[in-house]
């Protein structure tokens, strides 16, 4: 088995020329992306954009989990879904659109949402997780498994014109359960959303993943950015680990 890092081919050197001009990233960062894998939990309003930006940036492999078929109500924000794919599996639409952009991309898909049963295998297949799931049950399952496997997580969430984003290094920064030890009350299935809001956070989540993988910039480790696009406020808050956290408190 050949474990040597893959080098960039000529086509990739052309494709990524402009981003390799980014200070501290360069060709070394690009090769790290090519040799890395990211698991995106749900390819909805957030995850579609995360996956698309990572595909555009030249990530080597994506692991995607998303159940269900494309509906009209997906099309205001789930940018990997298309009108001509209505009624057909979302995960197939996502894969098709990503390969149109980047045919070199390796993609592993599962037509399911995250559960405690499928999380271990999916997390094991990736170097980093971007959690874009709408349900706290899925987020908690993903967090527990990623912490157990010591995989970094980028947590993105949005509501209305607001969003939050933080990055987690298990054992070093607060994990999701440190912040939210139990499901919050009063949440509803329906929620107000513009694609431009989920897309904003999706782009930020993709950038966090790129920074963590390539090892440059300052990821939001132990910090949470709270965004309100209604008045364009961006606040960065310091987070604290919970020493009694049921998920990561033991290490």
């Amino acid at each position: 088995m050949n474990n040597q890092p893959k080098k960039l081919i000529l086509e990739e050197l052309d494709t990524y020329e402009w981003q390799m001009w980014v200070p501290d990233f360069g060709q070394v960062g690009q090769e790290k992306l090519k040799n890395s894998s990211v698991m995106v939990s749900r390819c909805g309003g957030l995850g579609s954009v995360v996956a698309y930006e990572l595909a555009a940036a030249g990530i080597g492999r994506l692991v995607l989990a998303h159940a269900g078929n494309v509906k009209h109500s997906d099309l205001n924000r789930q940018l990997l879904m298309t009108y001509d794919w209505l009624g057909k599996p979302r995960i197939e639409s996502a894969k098709r659109r990503l390969l149109e952009l980047n045919p070199r991309l390796e993609i592993t898909t599962i037509n399911e949402n995250i559960t405690p049963e499928n999380a271990p295998k999916l997390v094991a297949e990736a170097d980093l997780i971007v959690d874009c799931a709408p349900l706290f049950e899925e987020r908690f399952a993903m967090n527990a498994e990623a912490v157990a496997q010591r995989k970094p997580i980028v947590e993105c969430a949005m509501y209305d014109l607001e969003a939050t984003i933080t990055s987690i290094t298990p054992g070093q920064t607060p994990c999701l359960a440190c912040l939210i030890p139990e499901p919050p009350p009063a949440w509803k299935r329906q929620f107000p959303v513009f694609g431009a809001v989920s897309g904003t956070v999706g782009c930020m989540g993709a950038m966090e993943a790129i920074k963590i993988i390539a090892g440059f910039g300052k990821p939001l480790l132990g910090k949470m950015v709270c965004i309100d696009l209604r008045d364009m406020t961006f606040d960065t808050l310091d987070l604290a680990r919970n020493p009694n956290c049921a998920v990561c408190g033991g290490f």
Binding site: G68, E112, E162
Partner: protein, 108 residues
């Protein structure tokens, strides 16, 4: 005692304000006593967001005092002029039945 409170997410929608100054009675006040006062002032929805059925404040509320996060369950004392930021966790939905078979294929 004056406390500067900032709301986000659903709390901002319920209180219809992003920030306000709340007057607490003189004497010893804590984050929990502030949350109970907010819940009482803004009624049923705020109460549901902040206080659980056991009449304790919800642990699933990210709280900051003077821009420093306090861990879930902690209840520090407040001083005059302190600022408190309350962030209800946001996400895209909830599974009302908590059934993993339903979540596995849920089309939301």
């Amino acid at each position: 005692m004056k406390i500067h409170v900032t709301y986000t997410g659903q709390l901002k929608a319920i209180t219809k304000t992003a920030a306000e100054t709340i007057h607490l009675p003189d004497g010893e006040n804590t984050v929990n006593s502030l949350l109970f006062q907010i819940a009482e002032h803004y009624g049923e929805l705020a109460h549901m967001m902040l206080v659980g059925p056991n009449q304790k404040t919800h642990r699933a509320l990210i709280r900051f005092v003077n821009n420093t996060q306090i861990t879930p369950g902690a209840n520090p004392k407040l001083g005059d002029g302190d600022s408190v930021t309350l962030i209800p966790p946001i996400s895209g939905g909830v599974n009302p039945k908590g059934n993993w078979n339903q979540i596995l294929t849920m089309e939301c």
